[in-house]
Amino acid sequence: MATNPRTNTEIPLVEKPSDLKWIGKSVKRVEDPKYLRGLGKYVADLGFDGMLHAAVVRSPYAHARILSVDTSAAKAMPGVRAVVTGAEAAEIVDPLPDSGPAPEQHVLRVLAVDKVRYVGEGVAVVIADTRYLAEDARDMVLVEYEPLDVIADPLVALADTSNLVHDDLGTNIAYERTFTFGDVEGDFAAADIIVKDKLHWHRCAAQALDNSGAIAIYDAGSGEMTLHTNSISITSFSFGLAASMRVASNKLNMVPHPSGGSFGARFSNWRTAVTAALGAKVTGRPVKYSEDRLDHILNGDQHSSDRYYELELAMTEDGIFKSYRTDVVDDYGAYIYLGVGTHGNAMAQVVGPYRIQSTEYRLRAVLTNKCQQGAYRGFGAEVANWAIERIVDKAARQLDIDPAELRRKNFIQPDQFPYHIPTGNLYDSGDYERVLDHALDEFDYAGMRAEQERMRAEGRNVGIGIVSCQERSVYSATEFWFWFDEPAAEVTSTPEGVKLVVDPMGNLNVTLYSTPFWGNSSDTMAAMLLAEDFDVDPQTIGIDYGGTKGGLPAAGPGGSRLTVMYAGAIRGAAGKIKEKARRIAAEMLEADADDLEWSDGGFQVVGSPSSRAEFADIAMTAHLFATKLPDDLQSGLEATHVYDHPYTTMPSKDRSDLGSFYPCMGHACHLAMVEVDLETGGVEILRYAAVHDAGTMVNPRSLEGQIIGGTAQGVATALLEELVYDDQGQLLSTSFMDFLMPTAMEVPELLIGHEETPSPITEYGIKGGGEAGRMMAPGAMSAAIDDALREYDVHVTDLPATPERILDWVGQKAGS
């Protein structure tokens, strides 16, 4: 038993459960056939009688006052049912949900009112019979602008109070604070070596293939708003969205539909929801607003982190890390509606897998004339992973030590778990050296190092990079407010509820309350978890999805929480059903309930397996034979269960300790071998290995799918994808012609391995794994490029490492 020293609660070190029937097997996904047949029915596929279509008029300017909006010509166009300006919209709907600091000083509206703050911001919406007609009329909306000086560079904007994105804020810095955890000053003063680094992670975005979409149906009689949406934020926290629409929270029904990918980009999606709701309120008819790619890239509220880092790592002369300083400026764009949560995610694992005893985190969140940030797989923790791995690589080079060995030297050791890092977050379990050794083995590190030298002797620029990274999972609500000394509310709930109903035949149906599907196998996970409890085939489980109306508490997906939370909720509901079934079986068998045990799909008397009631018979009795039930039981066999966050501790008042808020800590080691072509600046991946530890695996093939897909996205972040704004705030990469999504030719074939260090705080020891891959690949690719170009002393400081940037780095070193 290990004891958590601060709460005195004991967290046992656990073994992976050994008697599992379904968990751990790569079963075929239960949801796939309908998608393979083209029957998935995404929200864009849906239609309703009398449905109208919305198109948004967008600003061509990054920063301009709106002098006038003339909609008369547009309103006269064929098929047009309404044209609503930003000012008119502000009379009908309220600002969008905004969990940022001081939202009243940077008000986020569905359409701009007084001035536009980025290219693509909506100024009016046209509602017409078809999208074609709406787009025709959009061109006839006449907007008069007075252009203002553009605020493009966050490093200039943070010091400039003469030109503001939001006048009411009085500054372009939306949030600023320095957090200090432990004796940073002392550790730096005592250090033998201080390594410094300066990095820039450029803007990109998830760009799921399906864009955000919503269909709103407003019932003027009842005041009820039905919202068909592919948002993944269909939760019991949707009262904020209801308020934006000016409908009562119990009269907003968000109906979930599958989304063609998310990776964070379907998180919130308030803008499409309120655009559709606005149209529905004005016209009284169903209104669909489906973003096209241009809508989504320009105005989808989903750009990624855009961070400028200054880092310092303090260590001893033999390479033992002592302290780590982060000073980060993040370019949030024009609004900050999710607050600085992406930095909370960073602080959950800011010291990586290393024994670093103190750390400092200075954050300045700056507003500029760009589209606002949202969520992208990793939610800011992937950027922090890249940052610390960059400086660790720099340290290895400075010490002239193998990067794998420097990491090994500094790992938190298996017997130190559960382990509190300096920020206060808990790492529940891990064995980082085992993952490293597995990865080195999988990659054939020694062999490949020899091969690399052989290739380099031929004049080829071949390099190998390695990273050891954390993957935090299962967030707690404390990360919403620990930023502030006087938060509005110190909330602590991030629940997930399920409803489980057994029919008279003993067949199971589970209702999940957040969202149906966005590529994450939620149906399969739920089916496998139930199969484990009830000894049935996962393909036989019925699954449906509750909307928000009458829904159970649910916080929805995000932060790789859902499989862990479903496991807890399903286990709980299954336990309640089994308790009732046990009592009914006891009655059927004329036995004492305490003498019964569950075995292979039924209850039987311990030691007398022939005296047995099958679950189907118990279910039939529960439904059809009320007189045969124990007196205090009613007919039927159903249960709900709400599972709360498994391990939250409160932040300290002075925020020198943020508490445990992201405790289910996965880990991975990635190795990449690349060749850089100095003629073109292009990078070719020669070999790639990834070994992950996400605790107990539920469906290894699905997890591998997440790892490979996430790694492909990470490689794209490292080499290809960037949202480029020029100094006038014009977005230059507005289509897939310019935003370079990788094809099968650009991504590596992965060698994959797994370790399973179970979580001691979750059912079955599961940890989240949904953001895997993208949290590691950027660092591995950067390190491999460095190594390939070592004689030019290249250190990758900017991602993506485009051919231009690579040739520029090589040129700088060659010229100096």
């Binding site: 790569s26 029915k41 790619r293």
Partner: protein, 193 residues
């Protein structure tokens, strides 16, 4: 533009069924298939002809329905993802292989990937992994990182080569038109409206 656009009647044979549809000349084939014929299996990802989510087989060859006007397809035979499976009980071997290998996650690119695989395996029934990667590089997938799609295509190729249990090799959809795919294959991209 002030006058209501003129409409034209076109004839499309979709999944073996003949349709006469009255369309505006500017209406995209993707929208006619999705909105007029209710075939929502194909998806719109980029609307620029880049991602391939809108792929259909047009006279046997893959085509991007998001950058084709429906009038350009007048008289064509079209196969969409809904027309691939032999029945409601049985899936096509390519669909089976994608299921077995988890060659999909969110399913959005899947109709296009499956139809591209039909074409790819018709041209090369026994491809290497590298040939598969090159072959499917026409279509973007944001979820899978492609590796399990490559597994799926290799698996599908084996299933198709082995044929049915009775020894009959199932003909691929569109195979009969393989020799006459010039008329409508890869027409010049139209401007985005």
């Amino acid at each position: 533009m002030s006058d209501a656009p003129s409409r034209r009647t076109i004839e499309l044979t979709v999944n073996g069924e003949r349709h006469e549809v009255e369309v505006e000349p500017r209406k995209l084939l993707a929208d006619v298939l999705r909105q007029d014929l209710g075939l929502t299996g194909l998806n719109l990802g980029c609307s620029h002809g880049v991602c391939g989510s809108c792929t259909v087989l047009l006279d046997g060859a893959t085509a991007r329905s998001c950058i084709l006007f429906a009038v350009q397809a007048d008289g064509a035979e079209i196969t969409t993802i809904e027309g691939i499976a032999p029945s409601n009980e049985e899936m096509h071997p390519i669909q089976e292989a994608f299921w077995e290998q988890q060659g999909l996650q969110c399913g959005y690119c899947t109709p296009g990937m499956v139809l591209r695989t039909v074409e790819l395996l018709r041209e090369n029934p026994d491809p290497t992994r590298e040939e598969v990667r090159e072959g499917i590089a026409s279509n973007l997938c944001r979820c899978t990182g492609y590796q399990f799609i490559v597994d799926s295509v290799i698996d599908a190729a084996a299933r198709l080569r082995e044929g049915e249990p009775d020894g009959h090799v199932r003909p691929l959809i569109g195979a009969e038109e393989a020799g006459s795919e010039d008329d409508h294959a890869n027409p010049a991209p139209a401007a985005h409206p």
